[in-house]
Structures are given as structure tokens and as C-alpha cells.
């Protein structure tokens, strides 16, 4: 009986994909998020290549999630300070964005090209959630979209505090997102 329901579910699942092309979910687990908080005194930049992201082709609903400890710095000690003193990564291990690509209708996933997109949603970092907006581009090539974008956040909006912010560390951080979906 169990076997039967399993097969039935699979058949249903396969059929449903036939019907609703628009309900397609694009996903990646290897997206890149980088940030730059460099000041004239010191280069402070890190990259995370394990970004988990998905979006729905039809309505533009989009999510990004990263592990804060997944950000790699050139300097190991800087990475330790980032996790321990600034982001408190043990207490707040994840950062995420939940929102919508507001102009998803303008993206034609069946036609190769580069489409400007705008994102709107909530960014949660260091346990604090704020509304953010970002602009970027959606490149479509052979049905595989690639989203790129940049936005800025203020550290104090996320209650990230520390001695060197505003001095060695820029108070405003530029975040770059680059995700290739399948």
C-alpha cells in the first residue's frame, strides 16, 4: 500500500511539472555573496561561496541564506574577530533575505538576454531584520538564469558594534550577490 501511494505521488509529481511551467523554482547552493567593509586604513573583505538561494519564476518570491561562518577572509585572525566580536556567529549563525523580485514579469526565461531586476524584502543579520531594496541584473542563457546585484547596508542598523567601526571598518558595507541558478 505504501509503495502504491509512493508511485501515485511520483506520477502526480511528474504530471504536475508538465502543467505548470510558470511555477518553476530555480535553486542554487553555491551562490556567491561577498562584502566589502574596507576603509582607507585596512582592506576588509570576505567571500561566501555557499549561498543557498531559490526563487519562483512565476511570482518572483526569492530567498537567500548564508552561514556567517562561511565567509572567508584573507586573514584568519580577521575572520575570527568577525565571527566572535562583530557578528557573534555562535548566537546568530545565519543571515537571510526573504523577499520578491518585484519586476519578475519583465524577465523572459525562455529568451536569452540580460534583464534589469529590482528586489525588495527583509534582510536578517545578527538577529536584526530590516527592509532592504536592491537592484541587479538577471542574465538568462539557455534557460539558466544568473542573478547579480549590489546593495549597501549600515552596520548600526543591524546592531553590529565594535571599537573599529567607522575607523578601520567602514560603517557602511557593500554587499555583492552573484548566483547562478538551475
Amino acid at each position: 500500500m505504501k509503495q502504491m501511494t509512493k508511485i501515485a505521488a511520483m506520477v502526480l509529481f511528474m504530471m504536475s511539472t508538465q502543467y505548470s511551467q510558470a511555477q518553476k523554482v530555480y535553486a542554487t547552493k553555491t551562490g556567491q555573496i561577498a562584502f566589502n567593509a574596507s576603509s582607507p586604513i585596512e582592506k576588509i573583505a570576505a567571500i561566501n561561496n555557499q549561498t543557498d538561494s531559490k526563487f519562483v519564476g512565476e511570482n518572483g518570491q526569492v530567498v537567500f541564506a548564508v552561514l556567517i561562518k562561511g565567509f572567508k577572509f584573507e586573514n584568519q585572525l580577521m575572520e575570527d574577530h568577525f565571527n566572535e566580536n562583530y557578528m557573534e556567529s555562535t548566537k546568530f549563525p545565519k543571515g537571510d533575505f526573504k523577499g520578491y523580485i518585484t519586476n519578475i514579469k519583465e524577465v523572459n526565461f525562455s529568451k536569452d538576454g540580460s534583464y534589469p531586476v529590482t528586489l525588495d524584502g527583509n534582510l536578517t543579520l545578527h538577529g536584526v531584520t530590516n527592509k532592504v531594496a536592491a537592484t541587479g541584473t538577471m542574465k538568462v542563457a539557455g534557460g539558466a538564469p544568473e542573478m547579480e546585484g549590489t546593495f549597501k547596508i549600515k552596520l548600526k542598523d543591524y546592531k553590529v558594534e565594535g571599537l573599529y567601526i567607522g575607523e578601520k571598518i567602514a560603517p557602511e558595507v557593500a554587499i555583492t550577490v552573484k548566483c547562478k541558478y538551475q
Binding site: 504536475s16 505548470s20 511555477q23 566589502n36 526563487f55 518570491q61 526569492v62 572567508k72 584573507e74 575572520e79
Partner: protein, 290 residues
């Protein structure tokens, strides 16, 4: 490719409502740097990082005002440590005390984790070889080169209890190729205890004590006790401490510490570490947009 398959349900897909899997988090920064004071901590330097360390101990407080309470004298170890992988480091050093050369390797075997898959402890193994190059004071016995060697094998067991407290136990086996008399054994056991207490975001209090299970027969040798501060300043960790040990190799500080805290044979010392990135993390080799 599985995730690439378009999936769909009768109802609207809601990505926001999707359940998040629990994250397994590897505990980092149990100690702030690779040494507690004299002995190894559970920490390694990062992959591709070269760490230049200057370890410096002044003379004893009990030397009095004539020697400016020890500040006139110095015992130094210069060292270079390098991280071959995230979990494997090697290092070399040269001490003024007995003109010792030393080399070590340290490997992380297990790491403490929290969250999804939990593991309570971190475990490392460290092995050190020490070559005492100082010239023999007597001519009655001319030592072989191998007589100048001694070896330490250490298991380092550590746990971080939240952000504020870490504790480490270090069972140590030590072997001298040559001891003074025939009746003296060549093998010695000791246990190191070490701790870190966070005082502020940048300052930690550290302590280190080595208990000798069996001892060299010389009654002047005492257990090593050190108390210090780890101060983090941007690019490096600066360590300031008080210790009763003169040397900074396992041979000297574990089994041949001559100072006694009660008699004021305490030395002020510091460790300075400066790190250089030799091999950049792979994320930085083709820096896009940075």
C-alpha cells in the same frame, strides 16, 4: 540536478515557509592563539598562514633592584609556524636558553561542534623534537649528537564552554635521550591544565599549569605555572604574562622549571605574533568585484 527539477504543487509554493535544516557549527577560537603561554593550545594557524613569533621572558622579580627586578635579563625564543592545511601546522624555533633548536607538528583530530551534529570536545596531537646545542661544560663525557635530542608527545583535549570560558587538558609524554645518571629514567609523564576566561571583547585572561607525574631527581625543578592576558589588536594577538619558567620549549618549561612562585622567582614575559598570508584562500584567488 535534482534541485534543478521543476517542482510544483496544487497550492502556491511558499519559499518563506520552507523549513530550515539545523546547522552544524564547528567551534572556533577556543583559545585566541596557538600557545596558551608556553605550551600549545588547541588552536592551529590557518591554511597558508605564516606566523612569526617572538617569545620573550625577562629575569626574575627576586633578582631585586640591582637587576631592575629582572628586566636586565632576557630569554628569547624566535619561531616560525606555518599552516599546511586547516588542521595541520608545523613550526621551528630557536631559544637562547641552552641554545635549543626545536621543531614541532600539530594536527587537529576532532573538532567540537554544536547545532545539528554535536560533539563535546576538540582533540589535537602535537609532537616536538628539541635539540640542545649548548657546548658541553665538561670533557669527561663527549655526547653523541643524538644525546642532545629530547621529544614531547602531547594529546590536547579542549572544550569551549560558551564565549566566556575554555578549558584544556594536555597529557604529555616526554623522552630524554640522555639523562644525568644511570638511575634516572628517560621517560616522563605530565599533565597540562590550561584555561581562558574572557574579560572583554579584546582581552582574555589565561592560565597554564603543568603537573609532573614523575620528575627529574633534581629538587630545584618545580611545576610550571603561568598566568597572563591575551590582548587582541587588529592584526595580531599580544600575550603578556607572569611565569616561573625560563625556557619556552616543552623540555625546559615542563620538566626543568627552576623558579618558585612563593619565592618571587617570577618572570614577566610576552609573546608577540605577526601573521603573513602566504597562500590566499581559494575564494580570493580570482577576486571578482573586490
Amino acid at each position: 540536478m535534482v534541485v534543478a527539477a521543476p517542482f510544483s504543487t496544487q497550492a502556491q509554493i511558499d519559499l518563506f515557509a520552507e523549513k530550515e535544516e539545523e546547522v552544524t557549527d564547528i567551534v572556533t577560537a577556543t583559545f585566541k592563539t596557538t600557545r596558551v603561554v608556553n605550551g600549545h593550545s588547541i588552536e592551529n594557524v590557518g591554511k597558508g598562514i605564516l606566523d612569526f613569533r617572538i617569545l620573550h621572558r625577562f629575569g626574575q622579580f627576586s633578582d631585586g633592584a640591582y637587576n631592575l627586578f629582572g628586566l636586565d635579563q632576557a630569554s628569547i625564543r624566535l619561531g616560525l609556524d606555518y599552516g599546511i592545511t586547516k588542521n595541520w601546522m608545523v613550526g621551528i624555533g630557536r631559544s637562547t636558553f641552552e641554545k635549543q633548536y626545536d621543531a614541532f607538528t600539530k594536527v587537529r583530530i576532532l573538532s567540537q561542534t554544536t547545532g545539528g551534529r554535536q560533539f563535546p570536545l576538540s582533540l589535537s596531537y602535537a609532537a616536538t623534537v628539541i635539540y640542545k646545542s649548548v657546548k658541553n661544560p665538561t670533557t669527561t663525557y663527549v655526547p653523541y649528537q643524538s644525546d642532545r635530542l629530547s621529544y614531547a608527545h602531547q594529546l590536547i583535549i579542549a572544550r569551549k564552554f560558551g564565549d566566556y570560558f575554555s578549558f584544556q587538558v594536555t597529557p604529555t609524554y616526554f623522552h630524554y635521550n640522555l639523562v644525568q645518571t644511570q638511575s634516572t629514567p628517560n621517560d616522563f609523564m605530565s599533565v597540562g591544565l590550561a584555561s581562558r576566561i574572557r574579560i572583554s571583547k579584546r582581552v582574555n585572561l589565561t592560565g597554564e599549569y603543568y603537573y609532573r607525574v614523575n620528575k627529574l631527581p633534581n629538587p630545584d625543578y618545580k611545576d610550571a605555572l603561568s598566568i597572563g592576558f591575551d590582548i587582541e589588536t587588529g592584526g595580531h594577538v599580544f600575550q603578556l604574562h607572569m611565569t616561573n619558567s625560563t625556557g619556552m620549549t616543552e623540555r625546559t618549561f615542563i620538566h626543568e622549571t627552576t623558579g618558585e612562585w612563593g619565592k618571587g622567582n617570577i618572570r614577566f614575559g610576552f609573546n608577540v605574533s605577526r601573521v603573513f598570508t602566504i597562500i590566499k584562500p581559494k575564494e580570493f584567488r580570482n577576486p571578482a568585484g573586490l
